[in-house]
């Protein structure tokens, strides 16, 4: 399906709203991760407002596509997307990380509608997605499994155990995506534990690999649609993203991996997002 310019614009606006929600949530929570969630906002907007076959009114609909967020620490972007899609009230976003909240610091399945699994400890998401894809295949189900991972969790042995099993079983109902933003808590991924050549590594394990600009809406959508068309093997999308995308002083800085903005920084960030980094003069809304 070809997207019109209006479709693309609508999705980009969603991504911008998701980014604004992330800043507000993190400020209110006083702890959490900034860079990763902002960097993945475009991909989440594409998934929840175009790619996924889902129904926010029926979170347990058996035919829904399953989205597994393996790197649970970027959950503010997941929560913001779910709320904007209509899974729960937008006002609840500001309860993130607070006592009694359904928005736990890392996602907990069952706490909130729309969460497919509990995640946070890195390296365990892809294998759960593989399990779901195996279950779906036994049942001859039509739904797809999409697993979003960080690049840092490619350090984990459990990730590669899952890669081997997915390749062995030719799980074409599985699409994995790596948020290739090159940072992890202790620094740049290639300093901490070199990952390259990621494409060659996944291809060696029988994955079909696509590489995209993770902020280009058309490329994101083409990649997920392309993955659905591959019937011989699972697909990996390597999405090159800029950590902290949309907020100038956070972009590309690993220092922003694991901390939230303070009041002043949040104000600046929201101003940037509302003016599209100075592209338009006055703030919307």
């Amino acid at each position: 399906m070809t997207l019109t310019a209006q479709d693309i614009q609508r999705l980009e606006e969603k991504a911008n709203l998701i980014r604004q929600a992330i800043i507000k949530m993190l400020l209110e929570a006083g702890s959490g991760h900034s860079a990763g969630p902002l960097g993945m906002a475009d991909i989440f907007a594409a998934l929840y407002f175009h790619i996924l076959n889902h129904d926010p009114a029926k979170p347990d609909w058996s035919e829904r596509d399953r989205l597994v967020l393996s790197n649970g620490h970027i959950c503010p972007v997941l929560y913001a997307s779910l709320a904007h899609a209509g899974y729960f009230p937008l006002s609840e976003l500001l309860t993130l990380r607070k006592l009694g909240s359904r928005l736990q610091g890392h996602p907990h399945r069952g706490a909130l509608p729309g969460l497919e699994t509990t995640s946070g400890p890195l390296g365990s998401g892809l294998s759960q997605a593989v399990g779901m894809a195996l279950a779906g295949r036994i049942d001859k189900a039509k739904w797809q499994v999409i697993c979003l991972m960080s690049d840092g969790e490619q350090d984990a042995g459990n990730t590669w155990e899952a890669v081997m099993l997915a390749g062995k079983n030719k799980l074409h109902n599985l699409t994995a995506l790596i948020d290739r933003n090159n940072i992890q808590i202790d620094g740049f991924t290639e300093d901490i534990m070199p990952l390259e050549n990621l494409r060659a590594k996944y291809e060696a394990f029988n994955f079909h690999v696509l590489e995209i600009d993770g902020h280009n809406m058309q490329e994101i959508i083409d990649a997920f649609n392309g993955a659905k068309a591959i019937f011989e093997k699972p697909t990996l999308i390597i999405a090159h993203t800029i950590p902290g995308k949309g907020v100038d002083f956070m972009e590309g800085k690993f220092e922003w991996h694991g901390k939230p903005p303070n009041k002043e920084e949040a104000k600046l960030a929201l101003h940037e997002l509302r003016t599209l980094q100075g592209k338009i003069k006055s703030e919307h809304q």
Binding site: H108, T117, G120, Q128, G131, M132, I138, D139, G157
Partner: protein, 329 residues
Amino acid sequence: MINQNAYLNPKLFDPDIEQVPSRNGYGEGLVLAAEENEQVVALCADLTESTRTQAFAEKFPERFIEIGVAEQNLATVAAGMALGGKVPFISSYATFSPGRNWEQIRTTICYNDVPVKIVGSHAGVTVGPDGATHQALEDMAIMRSLPNMVVISPADTIEARKATLAMAQLAKPCYIRLSRDKTPVITTAQTPFQIGKAEVFYEGKDVAVIATGQMVYRALLSAKEMQMHKISVRVINCHTIKPLDKNTILKAAENCRAVVTVEEHQVTGGLGGAVAELLSQNFPVPLKIIGVQDQFGESGEPNELLEKFGLTKEVIGKAITTVLRMKNR
């Protein structure tokens, strides 16, 4: 004397009592569970024959997943399959699963609260010649501390079969520990079995011996011997370590006022730990915990190892007289 309502093997005290490894009962139970429920699937980490998952794999090849030597994947793929509506049984040696993959079990199985069934074969020193690396002695402790987890340690192969079927019907994470070595078949098809319900196998009023796994047999041998010394011993088969059958254990403490626990496991965190937690806070009585004393096992023949690590009827007998003395002091 033997509780007739337990319907134990009539040849219980014959020297030539039939001996079968409890892992066999699991293998039979798994096939029965799979016939009963088409959602039952099995995953194995390169130990299909040894963990007795082979019969299932041959009968239901489309429902069997070979994971390879990857226990973290074993647990997490199973969690994903359970989220996809399946009832997965995952089998390996207990030192590897639940040993190596504890965090994955904690997060993706227990916190998710999905019905994955963890089958740990080769528990205890009776694994024998393979040595300490393959003799799981901490598995009940690490599984018992997890919220939502059910922990089962069957007394013999027949009970392992019943437990496997019962686990398949229970919508909770479960762990079952099994023996590699042949152990006496002490129960029959008629012996009552219900997860969470300990059974009195031998009636008595002076001392209660609460045992689990193949140690139940040795506890029964000891109880019979004690009868000759005019000591009346109650033997309880505590096959479910969690949730613990508080009623049966508290009643035994109230009636007998002296307790001994026996397990083929470290003395910390297993059956003895669970019973001590219960009794010390509700009905303190003299208690001896028999198990492996904060040590690793080693290579040897099963019976040699049971002797070396103090898991014999003689050691149980000594503990019985000790708690009896403490009680009467």
